[in-house]
Subunit: 481 residues, 2 copies
């Protein structure tokens, strides 16, 4: 319950690494000696040293919060990571596994013996297990689930049904329900009879006789009011509640907006079925946005910095092959105009400018639209306003930057027609980039697809090819050899 | 204290918009009639209708949480936004201002009369004011600050000194300090004597006789232990504390890792000077990452979707001019090889491929390194490992994608030397892209600059130019006319 941890993460990592380094140093010394005069004695020494090293390391690890052990493991090479893991798994492998990032947890589970994993799983209750169902080997999970009793089994079966990014997947099982007709004194007695109260509870959920949520009682009201008073007299009646199949991002926004610490999750009849807490929400927010950022750089999922090269390659290749495909198309667009380029080779040097600026402005529009959609800031009533503004801005951009580029072209090639062509191409490309930057995410959204995933790639790819086509096409029309 | 809010934000927005629409509809009807037979009667009717509309709107707004009013305002056109604002500012303009995003708040402050702003500022205490110091007009702020009393004045002067992204800028003033020698009964009495307890308090801060933080008491321990016991007997002694000048991102990570709800901020002598709460942390996390995402698309700061075109243009031009500069350089690099391109016009069509894939792979590396640095996952002990892995991956990528591109080139131009040149160019460019993708963020970090801000732009720009140079240079060397 109490926070019994230190905060200097860097210091923690240094400590562990020092122990690991010491061990390696001594081991390599022993190995050198062993090379000189090999014998069974060296083996004994080496084992002794190794054991001593492990004892020291164990001492350091034991003082760490499980979240810190997980963090340390994420920052160690695979070999050291497994060493630390095997020292800890017997006592608190379960909690550590929960704290590890998915990519590292997956790796660890792969490299752990079946029997060790079984030990670890026994440390976890139904709620914890429900967070790990995606990562654990099917057979092992089933075996553990079979051993669960009625209520726990029901909980986990239920939670398997919720979508990955739903409130149901994030909610916890532990909550304190109190009856509205109880007095505060009775509530206090009930609470005192429990050995532990759920963490991150700023309020208790109040239910009526039929078990429906009728309000919440904060611990402040519990403490500050007279023990004789009834819960129904001092509870708050208006409560922010969630449904289990609601999107987690909605809940996250509500937590941010109303500064919530915990909130009840209710079923369709208004009965509390679980509890959402701010620690889960904050993890969700971080993962959610950080995933978007990685995706936009073409990295499929969270990448373990110390994963083998092959893992990383697979993680990044989907995007690279996609981007190759689009640039092949752009290349063929240029190919259409090879005759024109052969006559005016300056076109080759200037064409990347049109494509690059087109891609950039299109991307700016898309980023804003995707963000606006994610925050539900864009709807049918204001989309017209937004479209008008972005198109206006793109014309302004086209004229301003088109002139700048035209001037640049003139300074290098002293060809007024070429300058005119590139300026006009900029105006047209930037306008079309804005059209695409608006249309693509809005269409994806209307098709119920995630605009954050595909929009950026599509916009860049299309504006590139379009930019080349417009610029070279205009040149082919207006420039005479 | 109690959460007395609804959660269906979309519904809320619809409600407000409906009122606004109704008003417009009736007004335009009146206007039509007025056009037919103008006269003073129409004016009276219009005013009546307008007043009625405002009354309805006022009713809807009054039921909303200030955070919801702020959200509604962010999603209205400027005109409607100001209408809502002026209806609310007299009663709770201060809280709403606090909840608005910076860009919208700025706009609103600009469009509000001095005298109205003064009214709004009077609704805010020192702590709230400290969050708004950057946005308010200097003179007005000074005037308000002069009216503050001793302790409040000291607080705000102190908080002006903390950096924008420091713990000090996020921390709040309200906290409950209790003495370690008190009994729980005394603590309860003290708490009951206060009318309100600070929100988001899961724990009270315990100080010794000299006022130094000696532990924390959770409300759970307060409730579950015997009233006779002393605080020092039941408090937790190991506490996660922060310093005011620490980076807020460090604190955010600690909140995530240890699932904190609140934590004390202490001065160098260990005295509590403020309190950090999870609601501030969650807002910080959201702003922090979302800002990074916008920056990486070349949008300087959070952009108000309904801001005038000029505002948006200024917000995006810094990046566009930067990107123009880099593409001008790339254009000049191509210019160097115009003679070669004139001979082999296929080069013009193929060169964007090398540059684009180079830019993409370089960016993937940079994104991972920037993220690893932000999460403190990268340090001197593992940087070698990371460099080795990324370079190996880049060679693998170069060989694989170089072959694909070489094959593509051969299928279109049936020129083995050209195929060889582009394959080799891919290998070299991808390797150099990885080198730059690693070196640039690591160097920026070593120079104490934020790698998230400049690294992406620099890497893309350099690999573009480098890709063109390597490909065209190799072509100039190996291809004979």
């Amino acid at each position: 319950m109490n926070t019994t941890t230190r905060k200097h993460s860097k210091h923690i990592l240094e400590l562990v690494k020092e122990q690991l380094r010491k061990g390696q140093l001594v081991e390599s010394l022993v190995e050198q000696q062993a090379g000189q005069q090999a014998g069974p004695r060296q083996d004994v020494v080496r084992q002794l040293v190794h054991r001593q090293q492990l004892t020291h390391l164990d001492k350091v690890l034991k003082q760490l919060h499980p979240a810190d052990v997980a963090w340390v493991m994420e920052n160690l090479s695979q070999e050291d990571r497994l060493l630390v893991w095997h020292m800890q798994l017997g006592t608190r492998g379960g909690v550590i596994l929960l704290e590890l990032s998915d990519s590292v947890a997956e790796q660890i589970i792969e490299d752990t013996a079946q029997s060790d994993l079984q030990k670890v799983l026994l440390q976890l209750d139904a709620e914890d297990l429900s967070y790990l169902t995606d990562l654990l080997p099917e057979a092992l999970l089933q075996q553990r689930l079979d051993a669960l009793t009625g209520e726990d089994k029901a909980w986990i079966n239920q939670s398997l049904e919720y979508g990955e990014d739903s409130v149901g997947a994030l909610m916890g099982k532990d909550m304190v329900l109190i009856r509205e007709e109880s007095t505060l004194k009775e509530v206090l007695r009930k609470l005192r009879s429990q050995q532990e109260l759920p963490e991150q509870s700023d309020k208790f959920f109040v239910v009526d006789r039929r078990g429906h949520l009728s309000g919440v009682l904060t611990w402040q009201s519990l403490l500050l009011n007279q023990p004789k008073q009834r819960v129904s007299e001092v509870m708050a009646r208006e409560v922010v509640t969630f449904n289990a199949d609601e999107e987690a991002s909605n809940a996250a926004r509500a937590f941010e907006r109303y500064d919530l610490v915990s909130a009840p999750v209710v079923n369709s009849r208004g009965r509390p079925i679980g509890r959402l807490t701010v620690d889960e929400v904050i993890d969700f927010v971080r993962d959610d946005i950080s995933e978007d950022a990685l995706n936009s750089a073409g990295i499929k999922s969270e990448e373990d910095l110390f994963a083998p090269v092959w893992h990383s390659a697979r993680n990044r290749w989907l995007w690279l092959s996609l981007s190759l495909l689009t640039v092949f198309v752009a290349s063929r667009v240029i190919g259409l105009f090879e005759a024109t380029i052969a006559q005016f080779v300056a076109l080759a040097a200037l064409m990347p400018i049109v494509a690059a600026i087109g891609g950039n402005t299109g991307n700016q529009t898309t980023t804003l639209v995707v963000r606006g959609l994610a925050l539900s800031q864009i709807d049918s009533s204001n989309v017209k306003h937004l479209v008008r503004k972005e198109l206006l801005l793109s014309i302004l951009n086209g004229v301003v930057w088109g002139s700048v580029v035209g001037l640049f072209a003139y300074l290098f090639y002293f060809d007024l027609i070429l300058s005119g062509v590139i300026s006009l191409a900029m105006v047209l490309t930037l306008f079309l980039a804005a059209v695409l930057g608006l249309a693509i995410p809005l269409t994806l959204q209307a098709m119920d697809r995630d605009p954050a995933l595909g929009a950026g790639v599509l916009v860049t790819a299309l504006t590139d090819s379009l930019g080349f086509f417009i610029f070279l096409g205009l040149a082919a029309i207006f420039m005479q050899p």
